[in-house]
């Protein structure tokens, strides 16, 4: 079947989609967007996290047909073009780099999207910097086998502080 939807603001069409196929498969194998990772295909690891109509979901558990006409935002869509037209890493991505929150990087795309969602609901919504319990809760469905999570927490705190405008930067 053919599925038409929007990814990162652009209309896309995928052809020959098997009706039981996941959104993750369509993104990676049919649309050339391998940012979202496939590590478990059963919702356990969060490395495939994307926004679907503004709400985060595991792309491996969404049937492609369920996305028809809807809008998806992947990790590739987090970076935004600045005033000069150059695409720059989003604050949360910068913070992951600076804090050393990336080792093998497999979990990173999912964590970035889920962390972005947390910041959208907190720092960017004028609710200030989320506390550690809130960060841990938000990221509870994202597994990382490398970092031990401490640097990831540092990165999220740093990004949140910057987005809330409470610091000028520097690793937390």
């Amino acid at each position: 079947m053919r599925v038409t939807f929007e990814v990162n603001g652009e209309p896309v069409t995928a052809d020959d989609v098997w009706p039981g196929e996941s959104l993750l498969y369509v993104l990676r194998e049919r649309l050339g967007l391998p940012g979202s990772k496939n590590a478990c295909e059963q919702g356990e690891c969060g490395s495939c996290t994307v926004y679907l109509d503004g709400v985060t979901a595991c792309a491996c558990l969404v049937a492609a047909g369920q996305c028809a006409g809807r809008s998806v935002r992947t990790v590739e869509g987090l970076a935004e073009a600045g005033p000069d037209g150059e695409r720059r890493l989003a604050a949360v991505q910068e913070a992951f780099v600076e804090a050393g929150a990336v080792q093998c990087g497999f979990c990173t795309p999912g964590l970035l999207v889920q962390a972005d969602d947390l910041l959208e609901r907190t720092a960017r919504a004028g609710r200030g910097v989320p506390g550690d319990p809130e960060i841990r809760e938000a990221l509870a469905g994202n597994l990382c086998r490398c970092t031990g999570y401490e640097k990831i927490l540092d990165a999220v705190r740093l990004a949140a502080a910057r987005e809330a405008g409470t610091t000028e930067g520097g690793a937390a």
Partner: protein, 289 residues
């Protein structure tokens, strides 16, 4: 394989009647795992995510009507007052991403004995609304689970909604598992006190072929509880209540835990739930007096 995508409830019921083998899919958090791992190859998927009625909730006579497609995130955000035990159970489900998609109707559709929605629905005496082109019927939750992953739903029926009585007393849910998130329960328990009818409701999860109640424990506590003042139950009664809950379970040994551990943890959870609800009841009575 077909992908059926009705956009109204009538179309959905017609599609299910025409294709009784079609597998409904809402959040997909159970269905997609089965498809991804080749455990299931249904002739068709029936996508229900475009049917607006399913994601709505609101009062229905004395009940709260919760559309089958309401996700856990919405139950937590909006229904904590009207469905306390269900909201508490919803908070314990999986991860934010799964709670954004997973639904109470999907939990009922799969009817895993480990599903976290079941104990609260049993304890509060909910009803399940089933619909088909032939009509609509409401099945008391106690008659809904008929065997291991088997329910009273007929092949041409869809789950439309869950009807929850307004809470008439404190409720509690608890669950045992290896971590605080992303955990299919080893055992779970829900308790609801009904201060008007002076009855007790219980629900047990992950400790039998179906979700279960503990009727002896319910009767025992209904007789012993101080419904006027809510004084803390005597330690012997608390203990007895825990034992009766554990005895009602029919657990097996499996990868998540042994039968003996499940019974033991159920007794502990039942005693704790009783302590929490008795305190809430006492404080509620004090406020009303």
């Amino acid at each position: 394989m077909d992908f059926l995508s009705p956009s109204t409830w009538e179309e959905a019921l017609a599609a299910k009647s025409e294709h009784p083998d079609a597998v409904p899919i809402m959040g997909g958090t159970d269905v997609m795992v089965e498809l991804n791992f080749d455990r299931r190859r249904p002739p068709a998927l029936l996508d229900l995510t475009r049917v607006p009625e399913l994601t709505a909730w609101g009062p229905d006579g004395p009940h709260l009507r919760l559309g089958a497609g309401v996700c856990y995130t919405d139950v937590i955000a909006h229904l904590g007052d009207r469905a306390p035990a269900l909201a508490q159970a919803s908070r314990s489900v999986a991860s934010p991403q799964i709670r954004n998609r997973g639904t109470v109707g999907g939990n009922l559709g799969g009817a895993s004995p480990a599903g976290d929605a079941h104990p609260p629905l049993l304890a509060t005496g909910a009803e399940v609304e089933l619909a088909s082109v032939r009509g609509v019927r409401r099945v008391p939750i106690r008659e809904f689970y008929v065997g291991f992953r088997q329910t009273a739903r007929r092949p041409d029926e869809l789950i439309a909604a869950v009807l929850l009585p307004a809470p008439r007393g404190p409720q509690a849910f608890s669950k045992i598992g290896p971590r605080n998130a992303m955990v299919i329960s080893v055992a779970s328990f829900a308790l609801a006190l009904d201060g008007d009818a002076r009855t007790v409701g219980t629900g047990i999860g992950s400790a039998g072929p179906t979700p279960l109640r503990a009727p002896d424990a319910e009767r025992f506590l209904a007789e012993r509880f101080d419904w006027d003042g809510g004084t803390p139950p005597a330690p012997a009664d608390v203990h007895k209540f825990g034992e009766l809950v554990a005895e009602a379970a029919r657990p097996i040994d499996d990868v998540r835990g042994s039968a003996a551990y499940r019974r033991r943890s159920l007794a502990v959870m039942a005693r704790r739930a009783l302590a929490w609800t008795a305190t809430d009841y006492r404080e509620g009575t004090a406020r009303c007096a």
